[in-house]
């Protein structure tokens, strides 16, 4: 039973880590665009 919750939790941890990776990438690209606009 605990493996069931572990599996569901692991799924969402993987997706949340990927979303954090995307938001960091977006922030880096925004900074680069600002740099180019200067």
């Amino acid at each position: 039973m605990s493996n069931l919750y572990l599996a569901y939790a692991a799924t969402w941890i993987i997706h949340i880590v990927y979303i954090l990776f995307l938001s960091r990438k977006a922030a880096r690209l925004r900074a680069e665009v600002k740099e180019l606009e200067r």
Binding site: L4, L6, A7, T11, I14, Y18, L29
Partner: protein
């Protein structure tokens, strides 16, 4: 943020919540495995979503080789990355399901091994794209993706072609296969939710990749302008 994106994101969140409710509360408990079988509602839709991502990557790679359109290349890298995320979910939830049911976390049977190879192929593809700096990167990546895709039908057919520790297909598996209609319903809700969620991730990641391509173009133009300036001086 565009209103269309916001509506889509909210609808996806609602769908994921309802799918979770279907998998945990509505679907009946399986007779032999018990509650642990509910991992099925995350494991199988994640695998099918990953397959859809890799099919999209395959088609985008062909489109890039034919038309040399950077949008096709951006879509290819996007779908490969999202496909790897969903395959990672499959490779983590699988052993968590296997341990209480089979008594082992992992075995080198055809389905498990070909899935691990699939993950390694697309991780290699992404690493190649990340670290290669040559002008032919997109072309070589597209060729790699087309050959790498060969493993997708092998993964799908592995439980039909070979005797494996992994269960035989319960869907489209011929006579004797099939699941309870309520299990079907929960499975389809979860599949719809995961495909919608993958679409959301692809939407965001594609826009980032297009921005990166445009930044690279600007850098190239700046470099060209400064070279021309040096030559005319």
């Amino acid at each position: 943020m565009r209103p269309g994106f916001l509506i889509y994101a909210l609808a996806t969140m609602a769908l994921l919540s309802y799918a979770l409710y279907q998998g945990m509360m509505v679907a009946p408990t399986e007779r032999t495995m018990g509650e642990i079988q509910r991992i099925f509602y995350y494991h199988v839709p994640s695998a099918w979503t990953a397959f859809l991502c890799f099919i999209a990557n395959f088609l985008a790679s062909i489109a890039y080789l034919v038309r040399r359109n950077p949008k096709a290349d951006a879509f290819a890298v996007t779908t490969a990355e999202v496909g790897v995320v969903f395959t990672t979910v499959v490779l983590i939830t699988g052993p968590l399901w296997a341990k209480p049911v089979w008594g082992i976390w992992w075995t080198w049977d055809a389905r498990l091994t070909t899935t691990l190879v699939l993950w390694l192929i697309y991780v290699s593809y992404l690493m190649f794209r990340r670290f290669s700096t040559g002008q032919q990167t997109a072309t070589l990546a597209a060729a790699l993706a087309i050959f790498g895709f060969i493993d997708v039908p092998i993964v799908y057919m592995s439980i039909r072609w070979w005797r494996t520790q992994h269960p035989k297909p319960v869907i489209a598996g011929g006579a004797g296969s099939g699941i309870d209609p309520e299990m079907w319903s929960a499975l389809l809700w979860n599949l719809a939710a995961f495909v919608a969620f993958a679409g959301l991730l692809i939407w965001v990641r594609y826009r980032l990749e297009r921005t990166r391509q445009q930044i690279d173009e600007l850098h190239a133009l700046q470099a060209l302008a400064s070279t021309e300036g040096t030559l005319t001086r």
